[in-house]
């Protein structure tokens, strides 16, 4: 793969609130894989959440306040790499609308233009190549709705997965269907969300995969939670952490 644009000297890493609290290993792996390509990764400590939970729940003022915090922090004109299709989608596609007509509109647009989902950045900008040192493994891939429909980056994630020679990718029968997470939706409508995630777990189970790999920790937490509740053996893992493991032969 040839990168589409010049390799930047440094980038910002936006860790996302879910990775911060639940999946720090995924964040670290994503950072190390970028650093491995000779790019300096900057992690501003004041960062928090993209604001999507409030934005989707009818609280745009609170969403704006939290998003403003990120606008203030990710100021330099360098790429912002986000290990989540959903959070990247929020920053890239919704910040301009969220700040429309405010004095931050221009900086929101500027930030939106610098946002990359992590796998998109690895493929399109860095053109990475990986050598798989792991033992043969059968995995499946979960596409998050926002990676699929807003960021349209699932192809990049799968390109990375396919570079892993010992990994067999068993695709889901209903890959394009939502896992039922939807942020606060999973709490506002637990039964509907539960029905969706249980169907997703069934689909994963039918692939016979030992692990479900994804690019969005919200979905992964949802899927793993439902599988765990049912006592099913497969584990969930963020793509970055999975790749880090594979190239080190873990």
């Amino acid at each position: 793969m040839t990168p589409e644009s010049a390799k930047p000297a440094k980038i910002y890493f936006f860790g996302t609130c879910l990775i911060d609290a639940f999946y720090p290993e995924a964040g670290l792996a994503a950072i190390r894989l970028i650093e491995r390509e000779g790019v300096r990764v900057v992690f501003p400590p004041g960062q928090s959440c993209c604001g999507q939970p409030a934005y989707n729940s009818g609280f745009p003022d609170q969403a704006r306040a939290v998003a403003r915090q990120q606008l203030r922090i990710f100021r330099q004109d360098i790429p912002v790499v986000v290990p989540s299709g959903s959070c990247a989608g929020m920053m890239k596609h919704h910040y301009p609308a969220l700040f429309a007509g405010t004095e931050e509109e221009a900086s929101a647009r500027a930030l939106a233009g610098r946002v990359f989902e992590w796998s998109e950045f690895m493929v399109r900008v860095l053109g990475v190549r990986y050598e798989d040192r792991g033992a043969p493994l059968r995995v499946t891939w979960h596409s998050s709705c926002h990676a699929l429909r807003e960021m349209k980056v699932v192809e990049f994630s799968k390109q990375l997965l396919r570079q892993l020679g010992n990994v067999e990718l068993a695709e889901l029968a209903r890959e394009r269907e939502c896992c039922g997470f939807g942020g606060t939706f999973s709490i506002k409508h637990p039964a509907i969300s539960g029905a969706l995630v249980n169907d997703k777990v069934d689909d994963i189970e039918r692939t016979g995969a030992e692990r479900v790999i994804g690019g969005d920790c919200g979905c992964l937490m949802n899927i793993a939670g439902a599988a765990g509740r049912r006592g099913l053996p497969f584990a969930e893992q963020h793509l970055a952490e999975f790749i880090w493991e594979r190239i080190h032969g873990d």
Binding site: S57, K188, G194
Partner: protein, 473 residues
């Protein structure tokens, strides 16, 4: 309107294994059929952009086009009636029927007539409305409402329909043979077309330029209803008007491809006038009832207006992961699925129907296939914002009805945590150490109904990064 909450109705639907199987099977088929006719992604995108542009252009000139439509129809001999509310629309229809001293009406499929609850209204005035669309016929026999806007009886499988026919149609044997079931319906309905003097139909598109009413269908019952009886009454929502005849081919292609995966429907009816001098068939009178019912209010708001682009193809229902699991009845209103979730709260108000706007994961599967590119998730968010808005007037009726202290404080707290880095680090540190001892109530309990307890990482990413010495600027 149903009296229990959406959540209760959805819970019950989720517990009905047969219902879920019926929907999963039927919707899966519709998705495949649509894919087959829209297999060329670039061409489909071009067509959707064109459809969206046609509807947006028509809506941008809505008042003018409606005036033009009325003039053109009147010139053609179609009598136009305006109805601001469903009550007025019902009265108009009743008066037309009574002016012909009729006691029965044969009906083609019409969602606007469902919106009017016309059948019940006519029944209360001693007039029988006979549904002639096969799906509508089935649910009318069973005393139900449509569960889908295109295929109203889709919640029933073959065996269930066989049972309804056997029990409700005099002399019908029990059979699960589709051809025989069709024959039973045909025998029952065919006579009605000859006997009944009034036919009622919906309208898919009304062409302002020519005063033409376009109606698509697959069973021929629509053509029967609009040509055999002496009087034809067409009912439509005022958003159905388009500028010119040329707009029809792309819109029809989008409508039928999206709805049923057909390149064209079996019948495409273009009705431009009553029977003219020397013509051998057609109704003597054609009436067009144009219903507002909140649409002109929706029209006033440029963002909400996009709701009115809808061509009622139902493909957003077919692709919706929520609809395909709970079915149409759980929504509790005439229009189910994503389109119902954005339309109903605007028409009925947020107090009555606002909860529908929250019953979505915002996955976007609907707007990905919407033939006229309605920004459904954007509109769902708008309705959510309106529900909690403290702004005084305007907007959607019932604005601010969900405001409450608990949620306001919760989101304020969330804001503080995410705008004060020290507080944030303290919170994640605490959760990392003691997250498993969180009180098992509220949101956590709702999460854990279907999932195991989430495991907070002992040390957050922020902390790990500090330890690893990753640069902070």
């Amino acid at each position: 309107m149903a009296t229990e909450s959406f959540e209760k109705r959805a819970d019950r639907a989720l517990g009905d294994a047969q219902l879920r199987r019926n929907f999963a099977f039927a919707m899966g088929n519709f998705i495949l059929k649509r894919q087959a006719v829209f297999s060329d992604a670039a061409e489909t995108e071009r067509l959707r952009a064109l459809g969206s542009a046609i509807k947006q252009r028509a809506l941008s000139r809505l008042p003018e086009l409606l005036t033009q439509l009325e003039a053109a129809c009147t010139r053609n001999g179609i009598r136009v009636h305006w109805a601001e509310t469903t009550a007025v629309a019902n009265r108009v229809v009743l008066e037309i029927i009574q002016s012909h001293a009729a006691s029965r009406v044969v009906k083609g499929k019409s969602m606007v007539s469902e919106e009017m609850h016309l059948n019940a209204f006519l029944a209360s005035h001693g007039i029988e409305a006979i549904e002639t669309d096969l799906g509508e016929f089935i649910i009318q026999l069973n005393g139900e409402t449509p569960s889908h806007i295109i295929v109203p009886a889709i919640h029933k499988n073959k065996a269930q329909i066989a049972k309804i026919f056997h029990e409700k149609v005099p002399g019908a044997p029990y059979t699960e043979e589709v051809a025989e079931l069709n024959a039973i319906a045909r025998r029952t309905l065919r006579r009605k077309f000859y006997e009944v003097g009034i036919g009622l139909s919906g309208v898919n598109f009304a062409v302002a330029e020519t005063g033409t009413l376009c109606l698509v269908e697959n069973e021929g019952n629509g053509r029967m209803c609009t040509t055999v009886p002496a009087v034809h009454i067409a009912v439509m929502g005022l958003e159905k008007v388009v500028e010119k005849l040329e707009d029809l081919p792309p819109l029809l292609r989008l409508l039928t491809g999206s709805a049923t995966g057909q390149l064209v429907t079996t019948y495409v009816n273009l009705i431009t006038s009553p029977r003219r001098e020397g013509e051998k068939d057609g109704p003597r009178e054609v009436h067009l009832v144009i219903l507002d019912n909140g649409r002109s209010r929706i029209y006033q708001d440029p963002q909400l207006r996009r709701t009115l682009q809808c061509v009622r193809c139902g493909t957003c229902l077919n692709h919706c992961p929520v609809y395909t699991r709970i079915g149409g009845h759980a929504y509790g209103f005439v229009y189910p699925g994503p389109i119902g979730q954005i339309l109903t709260p605007q028409v009925e108000g947020l107090e009555k129907a606002g909860e529908l706007a929250f019953a979505s994961s915002l996955c976007g599967a609907c707007e990905e296939v919407c033939p006229v590119k309605i920004p459904i998730t954007e509109l769902l968010r708008r309705l959510r914002d309106e529900s909690y808005s403290a702004a005084p007037d305007g907007g959607v009726p019932g604005r601010g009805c969900r405001q409450n202290l608990v949620e306001r404080l919760a989101w304020k707290g969330w804001e503080l945590l995410n705008t004060h880095p020290r507080l944030n680090r303290l919170a994640t540190a605490l959760l990392g150490r003691a997250g498993e001892y969180l009180p098992p109530g509220g949101p956590l309990e709702r999460w854990m109904r279907y999932r195991s307890q989430p495991q907070f990482a002992p040390r957050s990413l922020h902390r790990r990064i500090q330890e690893e010495g990753i640069p902070d600027e």
